[in-house]
């Protein structure tokens, strides 16, 4: 039973990692940018939600919607204001730019909101516990699992069933050809940034009851989400979900049976082992290029 308990709580935290990693993968797939500021963007969104809920006195529902809108706008404007003018298109140049942006955001969070730990008023409680077939699940874990599933479903519908999703997939295959066909590539990029930031904001708000709200709250979840994305294959959305769930379960099992302090290290060791066998991740496409 202990085993299944660990698996279930691993799946619950893994679904939140999956939300983080979907944001990373969506962006990487469409624009080949690895966003190292993804965690910090989610953190800022959570801070905004915190301010709306406490100082603003807004109810949770409207505050959450408002936060997602802010995150979307901030993500899209980051693309236009910062990434667009950067001429250097190399992978490293983009990593450095987004990492620089991450520094700016985390610094701003400390300056504006302070470095202390805050508690986000959350409508669900960790004290309410359900017994599902002998496995205990608290309300927050269950709720965040459900919300994460809904968000993933929404993303699936957006990417696979809408005209905009078609444009996104076209851009991700070949952005020059997409431009020739009349797809507004820049707008697609900007909206992708916005959707990615929105996914991050959802993850941030759901993680808030677990990690509490402080400037480095997303550091660990971001790394896990990134790791899950790489494990699943950086250009595959289902891969991101599977990879993140694996990370969540494995680190929980290791934490439960062996030691909690080396959880992160073990997660990364597993990734390295998997990558040595499959360099493109579990579901990713093989690297192929013209010489």
């Amino acid at each position: 039973m202990f085993f299944w308990q660990l698996v279930v709580s691993g799946l619950s935290i893994g679904s939140l990692y999956a939300l983080v990693s979907l944001g990373i993968v969506l962006l990487y797939r469409t624009s080949r940018v690895l966003n190292f500021a993804h965690g910090e963007m989610s953190m800022i969104a959570t801070m905004v939600a915190y301010s709306l809920l406490t100082a603003g006195g807004v109810a949770f529902g409207p505050a959450a919607v408002l936060t997602l809108a802010v995150a979307f706008a901030a993500g899209a404007s980051f693309y236009f204001l910062v990434l667009r003018p950067v001429k250097e298109a190399t992978l490293l140049g983009q990593i450095i730019t987004t990492a620089g942006f991450a520094l700016v955001l985390s610094g701003m969070a400390v300056v504006i909101w302070g470095a202390d730990t805050k508690v986000l008023p959350f409508p669900l409680s960790r004290a309410v516990i359900y017994n599902i077939g002998g496995v205990f699940v608290n309300q927050v874990a269950l709720g965040s699992f459900v919300v994460a599933l809904v968000a993933m479903l929404g993303l699936y519908l957006l990417v696979q069933k809408t005209r905009f999703g078609l444009a996104m997939r076209a851009v991700s295959q070949n952005d020059v050809a997409a431009r020739v066909l009349g797809i507004p590539v820049r707008r697609v990029f900007a909206v992708t940034w916005g959707v990615s930031a929105t996914l991050g904001a959802i993850a941030g708000m759901l993680l808030a009851p677990v990690t509490l709200v402080h400037p480095s709250m997303m550091f660990d979840p971001f790394l896990k989400g990134f790791a899950g994305a790489v494990l699943g294959g950086l250009d595959s959305l289902p891969g991101a979900i599977v990879g993140s769930l694996i990370i969540g379960v494995v680190e929980n099992l290791f934490g439960g049976y062996v030691s909690t302090s080396l959880r992160t290290t073990v997660a990364f060791l597993i990734i390295i082992a998997v990558l040595l066998v499959r360099p493109e991740g579990l579901f990713g496409h093989k690297f192929m290029r013209r010489v």
């Binding site: 990487y28 690895l34 910062v82 003018p85 950067v86 001429k87 250097e88 992978l91 490293l92 140049g93 990593i95 450095i96 730019t97 990492a99 620089g100 942006f101 991450a102 520094l103 700016v104 955001l105 985390s106 610094g107 701003m108 400390v110 300056v111 470095a115 550091f219 790394l223 990134f226 790791a227 790489v230 950086l234 302090s261 080396l262 992160t264 290290t265 990364f268 060791l269 990734i271 390295i272 990558l275 040595l276 360099p279 493109e280 991740g281 690297f287 010489v291």
Partner: protein, 336 residues
């Protein structure tokens, strides 16, 4: 107007009387600095020196060989801890008491220990590229820090680890001034090694590998050997720089080696200019000065640091050294 007639002239490190004047001025400034700078400023100069060494090493890997490392601080940490433990163990052994702790051996031990791990991290790099390599190196950096936090025998637990004073025979290097000479001698020597490495066949193999690994392999560059070598050399520089920094700061704790440090080192290389050794020196000096300059307003440091990086990437992707080269070209061809 400069006419290059021989290959040796093309490959020369210093060109023409202007170049030699520049080198002479720089040497004079470096030698004179200890008499003009005060204690704390000398300490900053020493930190800059150790950062320059790490940045040059990282540039050999990232700028010249085109491999990404997001966990370079792991090598720095390994170098720092290996050197410190080596010296401490040496001092305890009664037979070697009269030697004190031979710091030059310790620096090499730090570098060599890091280089061993460099080879280990370089092995996955043979199969991985781009973002996949970045996650492996990132994981390495995090793993080193977590291991240090959870292994009090090495990291000294909550108290941290104190580094013994460097000494040459009876002469204790306990002032910032004496450390200055040690650090900057190492900087000059290791920069010379790096300069010579980049203009030798090894450096050309690195650059060929970066520009197109398939073309390089076709022309007979042994990919496995040179990729692993690049990681080993880069890690050696990082370990050496880490060991030097340990001697300068005289205190080690695992939180000094976090992920942000790795990003700071990358930022130094990129701000200075990828694939140029003087660029790494510029970048390391500028960003370290910025760090100390903002010590009064610590909470604004990440904001300013990040803004500088974004600004450089937007305005001058070639880095400060690229801008300097453009100015030089402009002045040479002036009335045009």
């Amino acid at each position: 107007m400069q006419l290059i007639q021989k290959y040796e002239e093309e490959m020369a490190l210093v060109r023409g009387w202007a170049g030699w004047m520049g080198v002479a001025l720089l040497a004079a400034a470096l030698l004179a600095a200890p008499w003009f700078l005060r204690g704390y400023q000398l300490y900053i100069a020493n930190i800059i020196g150790s950062k320059i060494i790490v940045a040059i090493g990282l540039n050999l890997l990232v700028g010249y060989t085109g491999q990404i490392s997001l966990g370079h601080v792991g090598f720095v940490a390994i170098g720092a801890y290996a050197a410190t433990h080596f010296v401490t163990a040496f001092q305890k052994a009664a037979a070697f008491q009269w030697l004190g702790g031979p710091f030059w051996v310790a620096l090499l031990v730090g570098g060599a220990a890091a280089a061993v791990f460099g080879v280990l991290v370089g092995l996955p790099a043979l199969r991985l590229e781009g973002p996949y390599l970045s996650i492996v190196t990132l994981g390495f950096g995090l793993a080193v820090q977590q291991l240090l936090i959870n292994w009090p025998a090495v990291s000294g637990g909550r108290i941290g680890l104190f580094v013994p004073t460097a000494r040459i025979g009876p002469w204790l290097l306990n002032s910032h001034q004496s450390m200055y000479f040690l650090v900057w001698t190492c900087v000059v020597l290791l920069s010379l090694v790096a300069f010579n490495l980049t203009r030798s066949h090894v450096g050309r193999a690195f650059v060929a590998l970066r520009d197109s690994d398939i073309a390089a392999e076709v022309t007979g560059v042994n990919l496995r050997y040179y990729k692993t070598l690049a990681f080993a050399v880069s890690a050696f520089y990082a370990g050496f720089g880490g060991a030097l920094e340990a001697y300068v700061v005289r205190y080690l704790e695992p939180t000094m080696f976090n992920l942000y440090e790795s990003i700071y080192y990358l930022a130094m290389v990129v701000v200075g200019g990828l694939g140029t050794i003087p660029g790494s020196m510029f970048g390391a000096t500028l960003l370290t000065l910025l760090q100390f300059g903002l010590s009064q307003a610590q909470e604004y440091l990440p904001v300013v640091y990040g803004a500088v990086v974004i600004l450089v990437m937007t305005i001058e992707p070639l880095g400060l050294y690229g801008r300097w080269l453009k100015i030089k070209l402009w002045s040479k061809t002036w009335p045009l």
